[in-house]
Symmetry: C2
Subunit: 528 residues, 2 copies
């Protein structure tokens, strides 16, 4: 005997057990986020063993680093964190564990690594296993996340159930680059906070943490080659050691998340000069970096040399946006240098960006640059460039028409610091708008939502990110033809996901209203 | 060689090592929160071993439940969570661990348990220990928290240091009751979120979690004696099983935090009737609980009987506030009952509260009631009553003059949902205002800050609580004569504590402005 909840009347309808099983499907619907490529299910309920096991029968992946074991334990903890489960248990339809078979023995997280997976949850047996198959361990991690979202706590029996079995899910991401930007220059974010952001990203299968490390306001990172750079930090303790950076990368990669490091040059660099004042055009005119000074490029080379030992992602971000070159023309020694080299301000901007690109390439990186570089001298950029759109829509189509790669972050829709950008806008922002040529479509690597830090610190970062970032995450993961044309069609599923984030301790804000809204009145999480 | 940070100029002054040690004291000051009763220190820096050990030489406490070991490991994790420490290490002035000597073998968390402690950190030796002495394990837990606040990460050597040793700290709380209210009726708070609130309470030595479990809007808790009560929950999954409640109590008690359960009667009870409609005066007039119906008291008895097996705190909270009795006089069968019993509305309100008190007493509880009960019929309340002030100031003095005990939560200063109540008001709110008689002073058990949940859910609870609750926590812990007369004198120390909370992953908001402010501009945590 059990009951079906009617939220309107708050009555609990008692039904026969058999009815309950199928009715849960209709009550909960298919509440996976993001929606998989294909998911088929039946109508049986099965029970998770309280001694749920990981098995790796048929796997080529040895898990020497413990990555899979750790992910499995994390998943079990998530499933069980919410409620104390009962030791009394049905002795039938008990799922004993999950068997994970990974084809590749390699767990290096390269860009474009195969993230696909197959998940099968049978409906019957006395002690049977769910089956996960994946080309790489990173596909298997996504499968575990999907599996966790199939599990429900039954408040009558107090056991964890899996409804609507058997399940067969085939899944893979639409785009290989699904990013979230954090900004540790405008406000320092402690390492445990960055780790919690990484944790939360994995719940909606985002896979790139774009770390906008430094900017005008502060330079929090230790750079061994130029140890005075972090004199530009806000304070003694608002800093990251290089080992902290290594730890953040290690932590992220073990969860399938790449870390994209950014140094934004030549603008947005005021904080660099606190340690090395000669990087400033002058003491009174303190950015962009002095284009006439070889030391500027030596420092960039030192930073990228250090980065190449820490940030193993294929890309480094070199910024290049919002460069106001007036200090170059008003500072006598730079003005003289421009004259000597027959450059105007635009030439010097291009010269700086391209030279920085070459330095990055010499350290093995492909480069990401903000779109102003493309808008000003797109034909001169290295073919290794990925153009990062932000100013508005319509840029990606131009970039890929020119044969370059692109990442979409148009600020009107995908800037999380725009509090008036609602989740519906995040959901409907389509990276391939006006791009129909399949070759050009492939040049759009994906997109990224940006959590700029002017008004963001530990106190408000997570509720400003979530649930809006999750709306974009489905756009980036789910096949186009499975995406809702009208975002209101996914409201209840996204609300369900936001409540799931809450249960996992993530401070995801209500859906109603704009970003970071506080609840407007008492009510259910699922309705707010 | 190292540097002293000048936040204004962002310059790092190089000093000889010996200078550094003493200068850290002036840079960081005495940044403990709350301020201990007495703290003396020297000027030496010592280093925490990377293999920091717990020892219990001379302790009578066997730690059979692992409570101390767990607390020690938690503390080490907190100290080390922020930055990766270096394996290279000085071979002198290394603190090998902490020795904890507890007098009492008992780790039952009774109300008024001795929370005092003595902490000594020596300055010299080759492999020496800090010494903690406490009457009970709960004093020792506070000592570990204080110890953790003495530790700093050195960004040059990458080791954890303890500055200004030797330290001798004698400490004990001013009030035995230092509470925080959470409200799971207006919005459901998942169990992991409640646990994270409990964690954060221990950082400022709060020791009572007042769990306002149910109210008009929802009844989320399973009550085994009356299993339909939680039909009044918002939804199927926004509920706590009785085992969840047991787990919350267990979790809190292991950290020295008592859980005060509240059922607010006879008002604030609309949600009760979804499961048992006869508790409503009528279907159209649904609160207070039907005073004429014996079933109302049977249900209260059942709840408190179940509570007595779960909530082992000396007190249960029976509410009693904001009772609008109009449904009693407009519902014919109740009106008739009132007439039969020669009661008016006030009489019936008193009758209900006193009868509920007697039920609680029969289950072994002392009772806490909101102040309206005292304001209306204070002379009739059980001597086991603690009056919970909330409407305004000036109540405690009347309560204790009448020989009853009191808890202070005047809403103008200590209601966290009052977003316009600033931390300065939380800090300066004095529970003993106008109470000079020592016997009467002892009747003020302490105070409580209240996080009512109308606009609070997982997304915004922690930054609405912190740092303002911490300001009240010092008022409740620190001896009166060590409290700042002008709150601005503690601004930088409180800012330091708020940044410490952030480093520990707690979403404490900026100090500047009112409650739950987002950062107004880029800047250092220590300045916002």
């Amino acid at each position: 005997m059990d009951c079906i909840w009617d939220t309107r009347s708050r009555l609990c309808f008692v039904l026969l057990f058999g009815n309950l099983l199928s009715s849960f499907v209709s009550v909960h619907g298919l509440n996976l986020w993001p929606m998989p490529k294909s998911a088929n299910h039946g109508s049986n309920t099965i029970y998770l063993s309280t001694n749920f096991q990981l098995s790796t029968h048929g796997s080529n992946y040895s898990d020497g680093s413990g990555l899979l074991k750790e992910a499995f334990e994390r998943m079990v903890n998530l499933i069980e964190a919410d409620h104390t489960t009962n030791s009394k248990f049905p002795n039938y339809s008990v799922l004993a564990g999950v068997n994970v078979a990974v084809q590749s023995p390699d767990d290096t997280l390269n860009f474009g690594v195969d993230e696909s997976y197959y998940l099968n949850v049978p409906a019957k047996g006395s002690a049977f296993y769910a089956q996960i198959e994946a080309k790489t361990i990173f596909g298997a991690l996504h499968a575990l996340e999907t599996f966790s979202q199939l599990c429900y706590f039954n408040f009558t029996t107090k056991v964890v159930e899996l409804h609507a079995a058997p399940w067969t899910i085939n899944d893979l991401p639409r785009f290989p680059y699904r990013g979230l930007l954090i900004d540790t220059s405008r406000h320092y974010l402690p390492v445990p906070v960055i780790k919690s952001v990484i944790d939360s990203m994995t719940y909606s299968k985002l896979n790139v943490l774009h770390w906008h490390i430094v900017d005008d306001q502060s330079f929090p990172l230790e750079v061994p080659s130029y140890p005075k750079l972090w004199n530009g930090a806000y304070s003694y303790s608002e800093r990251y050691t290089i080992n902290d950076a290594i730890e953040i990368v290690r932590y992220a990669e073990r969860k399938g998340v790449n870390v994209l490091a950014e140094i934004d040059v030549p603008g947005h660099t005021l904080s660099w000069g606190f340690g090395y004042p000669s990087l400033w055009p002058s003491k009174s005119c303190r950015e962009p970096l002095d284009v006439s000074n070889e030391f500027s490029f030596k420092v960039i080379d030192g930073i990228l040399s250090d980065f190449s030992k820490v940030f193993k992602f294929k890309f480094v971000h070199l910024g290049g946006d919002e460069v106001n070159t007036s200090c170059w023309t008003t500072t006598p020694h730079i003005k003289q240098w421009l004259n000597n080299h027959h450059m105007n301000e635009s030439d010097a901007y291009r010269y700086f960006v391209l030279r920085a690109q070459n330095i990055a390439i010499s350290h093995g990186y492909d480069i990401i640059n903000w779109e102003e570089t493309f808008n000003n001298f797109g034909d001169k950029l290295s073919p290794k460039t990925v153009v990062h759109n932000w100013l508005g829509s319509g840029v990606a189509e131009k970039v890929v028409a020119d044969g370059l790669r692109c990442i979409v972050s148009n600020q009107d829709k995908w800037y999380l610091d725009h509090i008036d950008a609602n989740w519906q806008g995040f959901y409907t922002n389509e990276p391939l708008t006006n791009i129909s040529n399949p070759t050009q479509q492939k040049l759009v690597l994906g997109g990224e939502v940006c959590m700029w830090g002017e008004h963001i610190d530990t106190s408000d970062i997570q509720q400003t990110i979530w649930p809006r970032a999750a709306a974009a995450a489905e756009r980036l993961w789910t096949p186009f033809d499975k995406l809702a044309k009208d975002p209101e069609q996914v409201t209840s599923r996204l609300a369900h996901f936001r409540c799931l984030l809450n249960k996992r301790g993530v401070q995801a804000a209500p859906l109603v209203g704009f970003g970071r809204q506080v609840p407007s009145e008492p009510g259910s999480c699922y309705k707010q």
